[in-house]
Symmetry: C2
Subunit: 123 residues, 2 copies
DNA sequence: GAAACCGTAACGGAGCGTAACGGTTA
DNA sequence: CTAACCGTTACGCTCCGTTACGGTTT
């Protein structure tokens, strides 16, 4: 399929797909007119990439983990995947902690402020 | 004071300080030799900038909020600050939620995997 | 004259968005 | 002919780190 169709079927922009392709994350051949031609299973492959990106990994890590996916879409427990995921859990923990602290600081500041009367409060 | 001293006293790199300066967040005059010359209170100003960055705001928002700080270092409840902070709390909430979901996904995947015996496990 | 500061300019990085310009095809 | 795709540069964005090159001061 052409890149436009792949974009439609995955919800990922053609620009992003070209980006993944240039980094070697997608299996694409070219037609005689130089248009990229993706096999059907690329739809699933893109979904896997987005899954990995969504959990906070970068494209470099995603590239290394793509071979760890089994045919059923499950991430297999290869050594690479295990370490990457474990590391990412810790990274997420650190980020979450930092963001919760920031959130607390903000709420404290807001709580200490007097409430400004607004016309909208009396309908 | 010169930029090196400001960097030392704030723990912020000179490069970052020049960046803030170029964006108009720092009050700096120039000496005859073109060296930046910061007044003493810039130390506190930099701390405020870092505080705002630490809670997830960007330099653009920081620039708008700096005038909202009172002399005692407290962020005053001006309309601008109130909205910015409230918005940021929501942004943090969204990010935290997303990261926790990602964390859960990772742990679920890791839990389903068999434990690989390692030499290091038997000392 | 070296060491230690200061300055500006500019590339790099992550993941694309967004032109800008041009070929292709229905 | 035109609309709708496709292609390849290449700059922009965020917050600086990091050269690279050069003047200033001690």
């Amino acid at each position: 399929m052409l890149i436009g169709e792949l974009a439609d079927r995955t919800g990922v922009s053609a620009r992003a797909l070209r980006h993944y392709d240039r980094l070697g994350l997608l299996p694409s051949r070219r037609r005689s007119n130089r248009y990229r031609d993706f096999p059907d299973h690329t739809v699933e492959r893109v979904r896997r990439i987005r899954l990995l990106l969504d959990i906070g990994l970068d494209l470099d890590a995603a590239k290394r983990l793509l071979p760890c996916f089994a045919d059923d879409g499950q991430l297999a427990p290869c050594q690479t995947a295990r370490r990457a995921l474990a590391d990412q859990v810790q990274a997420l923990d650190r980020s979450i902690t930092a963001m919760r602290q920031a959130r607390t600081m903000l709420l404290d500041a807001l709580d200490q402020w007097p409430v400004e009367p607004t016309a909208a409060q009396r309908p």
